[in-house]
Amino acid sequence: MPGDCVEADVALEFGGGAPPGVALPWVYEAGCPYFDWLFGDSEAGRGVIAEWLERPTSEVSVTSMVSASLGGEHVGGFIAMGAADLAARRRADGTALVRARLALDKRQLVERVRASQALFPSPSEDEWYLSKMGLLPEFRGRALGAALVQRYLEAGSEHGFARFRLDVSADNAPALAAYHAAGFEVAAEGVAGGLRYLAMTRGYG
């Protein structure tokens, strides 16, 4: 069947993590609205995530990133890992959050971390977790997202995972549609801090 997905599959090239500065825009946007809320404001949040991209122990480390390019140009990518790896990385990021210089007092930080746990229930041990996925704005609307999701599923399978899990903002209609199209179904809902996220899962095949 002719379609954009086929074209995108052929054109996109995948590789290791992109330079942090190049990937920051889509990684940060993929983490919003949660990131803006967690860090208190967008500028502070971007500063923190720029540092975390370069820290190998972070959930958003470029070392866990698959970068997508089109004709040699970085267009976006995804960050994925197994559930146990995710738990260790979230512990490290919790420590980094305490050390980050934010305009929040520690009680506000406690409330935000508590809400984070309510928003994002931990995946099961057997799930390959999609932490971030995104495209730079100028490369959207070309059905490249479907190829990214496909590559994420393949990567999980290559790592021996047969179950997949992601969290998506309930307000992000385009992403929700893309994940539904890829076979994901809503498994749980997290509401906290004025945010609403949906946990989606699917099997492989």
Binding site: A92, D93, G94, R99, L109
Partner: protein
């Protein structure tokens, strides 16, 4: 003198953590390098709650940016850092 550096704060850390998870979750003698996070005694939420409680009990606000990330979750180094910062401030 330096041998006892952080001792009062150290006791406070043990007290706060014990109140949260039970004294049995900690060793009888808590080693200086006992890592509360990696030993599974507290999670990320427990860590920020500990830090917030410490600041409230001591009446200080501490900037942790200068404390090594690995030391932040270890009883001894965390106590020494907080004690030094609260005395300085």
């Amino acid at each position: 003198m330096s041998r006892n550096s952080g001792a009062p704060v150290r006791d406070l850390i043990v007290e706060i953590v014990a109140a949260r998870v039970g004294r049995d979750a900690l060793p009888v003698e808590v080693p200086e390098d006992f890592d509360l996070l990696t030993e599974g005694v507290i999670d990320s939420l427990g860590l920020v709650e500990l830090i917030a409680s410490l600041e409230e009990r001591l009446g200080v606000e501490v900037d942790f940016a200068e404390l090594d990330a690995d030391d932040l979750t270890k009883v001894g180094p965390l106590a020494a850092y907080v004690e030094a910062k609260s005395n300085a401030g």
